[in-house]
Symmetry: C2
Subunit: 153 residues, 2 copies
DNA sequence: ATTAATGCAAAGGATTTGCAATACC
DNA sequence: GGTATTGCAAATCCTTTGCATTAAT
């Protein structure tokens, strides 16, 4: 969920372009992040990384995530703290989106809209705010859960 | 930053209406939250409460915040984690707003817009999502900081 | 009087840090 | 070879919990 489209093709490219060393650990972490199909938290990322290379340490995971965040290559999500205070991460694509978190079933939906883009533009223009990161999260009940218990309050 | 306008006049009223006991500690906490001019974190709230009544314990602060959150009377903010992972709280007013966090000077601006309201409506209608809480936070540089260092990138 | 709410102190989860050892460029 | 990066283990920050005590209704 961001604003500028990353220019490099891969995270590894961005690392070397910045003069950062491409260690074995980083290679593994970047690949996992790039191919992730779901929102990963630090512990999950560590686990997946260790499945490939047992040497990887938790501190390295956090340090790598920190770099990626600062470079604007990943976004950090809270997902409405549905499962504790940990953070989730996703690679930044060209299209920002909103995360809808269902308090009932726990599902996370992604939603994008021209109105969302319009809102960001408006903030930049009317407020003169130079947007770096945007995070919009909505908590409530997804359509499935709403329909399922329409009889209950 | 929410969706429904609270119906009760005061937080204390809401507590008694729900059959919750109005203890001395809660009275103090609710008053502070109601009259707060800035975004409070749990530690700040505890400090202000202790200034009035030294007996108040941290656990009580957290437990009270939890209740208020569940009742939808306050909103929980991250403010882009500008100052660590703690949460900030603000009383829910009728008008939802976006928080703009300046990474440079740390200032938090509040922004509201019909486009924001339109976006929420759209999410509810098109996605069929029953919205309980909305949190939108934007990180970047405020207009003052942008102007101040217009020569630097 | 009953039971919710509190204080205390300890536990918990997530993340960060200092520093010596390692490995990339 | 020089320096960035890592692993380790401890520290830190924020928040939560169990349980005996207190106080609101």
């Amino acid at each position: 969920m961001s604003t500028a489209t990353p220019t490099s093709r891969s995270l590894a490219d961005a690392f070397t372009a910045k003069g950062l060393r491409l260690t074995a650990q980083r290679r593994v972490l970047l690949e996992i992040i790039e191919s992730a199909t779901s929102h990963l938290d630090a512990a999950g990322l560590l686990q997946l990384a260790r499945d490939r290379d047992a040497r990887i340490n938790r501190a390295t995971v956090y340090r790598t995530l920190e770099i990626l965040k600062k470079l604007g290559l990943i976004d950090e999500l809270d997902l409405m703290h549905l499962n504790g205070e940990k953070h989730y991460y996703e690679i930044r694509t060209g299209r920002d989106h909103i995360h809808l978190a269902c308090f009932e079933c726990g599902r996370i939906e992604e939603y994008e809209s021209p109105v969302f883009d319009q809102l960001k533009q408006e903030i930049a223009q009317k407020q003169g705010f130079s947007i770096g990161v945007v995070r919009m999260e909505v908590g409530g009940r997804c359509s499935i859960c709403v329909r399922a218990n329409s009889r209950e309050q």
